[in-house]
Symmetry: C2
Subunit: 192 residues, 2 copies
């Protein structure tokens, strides 16, 4: 594991809570570096999520198929944690995949070993509690953004809150993320 990427990871963790050195070492020991090419699946559909990922570089999305149609659930950028929580927290196989949208460098954290670390390092349990609490809050905001807003409102909100998505991600993925067809998204963009 490259030192540089671990530094980036622990830098990210500091936003949530401080970790004693021993705890950092313990986490470092269960991390693996992953280099992956654009458009490849980091995790396929149907497998149980046993890894928590951190993006050092690149973009990724979680997606699944609804009636044969590719639906993007979420996008993830540099310095963020990705996990298919509905699988990670339940132990059930996930119907969702993680795909990388640019050549990426990723740190994989072995989830089972991490959960074991919770017993010896309450600070680590606290860290990940806070990480997922923050992700939970984001998800709640997401619902608010969907409920009772028109497609156009949702597009404008995205333009305001996460313009990077529109700059770096193919529109066809953005469309399903917004819950509309690609054609509708194109029409909405055309009006502005």
């Amino acid at each position: 594991m490259q030192e540089k990427e671990l530094v980036q990871l622990f830098q990210h963790f500091k936003k949530y809570t401080a970790l004693p050195e021993k705890a950092e070492e313990a986490i470092a020991a269960i991390c693996s570096p992953i280099t992956i090419k654009k458009n490849r699946d980091l995790q396929p559909i149907g497998h149980t999520c046993k890894t928590i990922y951190f993006i050092n570089k690149g973009i990724a999305r979680i997606y699944y198929f609804k009636d044969g149609i590719d639906v993007t659930e979420n996008f993830f950028f540099e310095n963020s944690i990705i996990a298919r929580v509905e699988s990670l927290f339940t132990g059930k196989p996930s119907r969702k995949a993680i795909q990388v949208l640019e050549d990426a460098e990723i740190t994989g954290i072995n989830a089972n070993l991490l959960f074991k670390l919770y017993d010896s390092f309450p600070e680590i349990e606290r860290l990940f509690r806070k990480i997922f609490e923050a992700a939970y809050v984001e998800t709640v905001h997401r619902i608010e953004g969907i409920q009772f807003h028109t497609a156009e409102e949702r597009y404008k909100a995205l333009l305001l809150e996460a313009p990077d998505i529109l700059k770096r991600v193919p529109l066809k993925y953005v469309a399903s993320y917004l819950g509309i067809t690609q054609v509708s998204l194109s029409r909405i963009r055309g009006l502005m």
Copy 2:
């Protein structure tokens, strides 16, 4: 605090993780019983969430106003935990309120004191970590249920997955929960 209601609370906690007796006592010490009449707000809009609630009896909903329109974010039944997490986990005031839809008996858990207990009782931190992880997973499922489904599909899914909501909750609240108007909901019901 009534013994009976605490038993019900700890019974609920057992679904997530076992607690040592001392931890249960520590939690019991920060709980207060609340009796509240139908249609009253348990927590008003604009206040910062400092209490985690457990419903011993009754139903509640979280709601807010979007452009002057009452929107239901979620429903909660007996034996469930309610919190406006976007306020609880960020310390910011909530734009949402909690309202009781039937005469209810509720246990309030002082959140600040609870978070202090996390330091001395890792088991308590673990318990609430798991509780909110499970709630997070539910929220992720919720998004899946909204994205790319028609109003009719969403109604039918609700009929299947949570028929109790339709039995015990006024339809006007169900409509905004489904992200549609009351009139549309009525029309959809009429077709079936």
